[in-house]
Amino acid sequence: MLNNSLTLENISKRFASRPGSTTQLQVLDNIQLDIAPGEFISIVGASGCGKSTLLRLILGLDEEYDGRILLNGKPIDGTGLERGIVFQDHRLFPWLNVEQNVAVALKNSPLSAKEKRDTVREHIELVGLQDFIDAYPHQISGGMAQRVAIARGLVNRPSVLLLDEPLGALDALTRARLQGELQNIWAKEKITMILVTHDVDEAVFLGDRVVVMQPNPGRIRRILDIDLPRPRNRSDSRFIALRDDVLSDFAELH
């Protein structure tokens, strides 16, 4: 039985401040986090706190760091199909239609052609785009393109889905709707999700725990348990209290 827990052990990351320079910029300092299987983790922080860098490390796009990232007890090695991602910009291939774009994720999957086709269709239905299966990215709205990206991130049935400010570029109405959908998808798929966002409201609405990060160097300020029943109600007084609590962290920083 896989348990698919994700462990971040003493993660530190430095960049040379300029290429070739010996001056180092500490981007992440000793990040420790244990993430249970199926947990929804929200990471919030001001820009420059290293939250997106942390996500890139977990994804395996950047392999130069100190510390260990363990998935299911084993250190990760580069990118892997068991870790999906939804970027802030949808990053769909403009020359492929919706169906083909989702299928990109299955290029190196062991499934048969028929299984691939079926699971692609299933995930397009999951994000409600079955009527746009043949549309090209430029023919659909930003919100729809981001749903396609979510379907592409999920279609491999990863054990961890990383969300790098996936709703950050959308208008408020679309964002609120997709937050609701994201929560439903998470409840249905029962996978671990790690959401990086600068929107405190979004972090509290979606997270089982909210990790607050602070910059210079990027580190965890504190971790809050969001012990509210789902689906959550934004006008619930407990929701408001938790949100204000997180917001107060940012007030102190400025």
Partner: protein, 262 residues
């Protein structure tokens, strides 16, 4: 009434491009018929039309144009094929780029016409020499644009390929080439335009055999301005058609890539 007006308004926009050439021909007709010039070198539009008819009916025109187009297309295909190979190697391999890049960059600075003396000595004045010259004309824009297109693939899309564990080959075929396609197409488009310009240049400078450029030379040597003008009109029309053909492909490509055609 109003609908008729609307139609005539729409079509007047559409045909606006004809105003200048028709006025020019009208002025030309006036000039030749009012005796504004006594020179025998100013021929009338009717004379040119008669020569055109004679050229077409006698089959001389078809021989010339087919010789020119055959040359143009062979040069275009050889040049673009080599250009695509070289452009892909330069764009995909850092090793090859370090090895060949500086030489190619020097090579492309040499004016196309500076090759003529060398080509005429090596390959003579016949078809081989002309096709070599045309291939060179087509090669350079294809190499430059193919290489640029492959170099400028958005890094964001390359990261997607890494996330889904694409092999090097899958990344080239599935991401880099499609992303570079609009740029590669620009290269092909330029090659088509340049190779037609170079066809006439080659026929003019490497004088031997048939072709529309040779029609021009004949006309000019015998002071037959009607023949010269006929040749120029043909060259213009062929160039325009090749351009239009390339534009149709370009529009299709842009639609596929979601770039709004103007």
């Amino acid at each position: 009434m109003s609908s008729a007006l609307a139609i005539s308004h729409g079509s007047s926009r559409r045909y606006r491009g004809w105003v200048l050439p028709i006025s020019a021909v009208a002025l030309w007709w006036l000039a030749s018929h009012m005796g504004w010039s006594q020179s025998g070198l100013l021929v009338s539009p009717e004379k040119v039309a008669a020569t055109a008819w004679d050229q077409i009916a006698s089959g001389k025109f078809w021989r010339a144009i087919s010789a020119s187009l055959a040359r143009n297309l062979s040069g275009f295909f050889i040049g673009t094929t080599l250009g695509l190979v070289l452009g892909c190697l330069l764009g995909l391999s850092h090793y090859f780029e370090r090895l060949v890049g500086p030489s190619f960059n020097t090579f492309k600075q040499i004016s196309l016409f500076a090759w003529i003396p060398l080509i005429s000595v090596w390959f003579g004045l016949g078809d081989v020499a002309k096709v070599v010259f045309l291939s060179l004309a087509a090669l350079v824009p294809v190499v430059v644009n193919t290489c640029d297109g492959l170099r400028n693939v958005p890094p964001n899309l390359l990261e997607v390929a890494r996330v889904y564990r694409f092999s090097r080959w899958q990344t080239i075929v599935g991401v880099m080439l499609p992303a570079a396609l609009p740029s590669i197409f620009t290269g092909l488009y330029l090659a088509l335009v340049y190779s037609w310009l170079a066809t006439i240049g080659a026929e003019y400078l490497l004088v031997s055999g048939e072709g529309i450029g040779n029609t021009l030379i004949d006309g000019s040597e015998h002071f037959m301005m009607d023949l010269v003008l006929f040749g120029m009109v043909v060259i213009g029309l062929v160039g325009w058609s090749l351009n239009a053909l390339a534009r149709i492909f370009e529009r299709r490509m842009q639609r596929l890539y979601g770039i709004d055609p103007r």
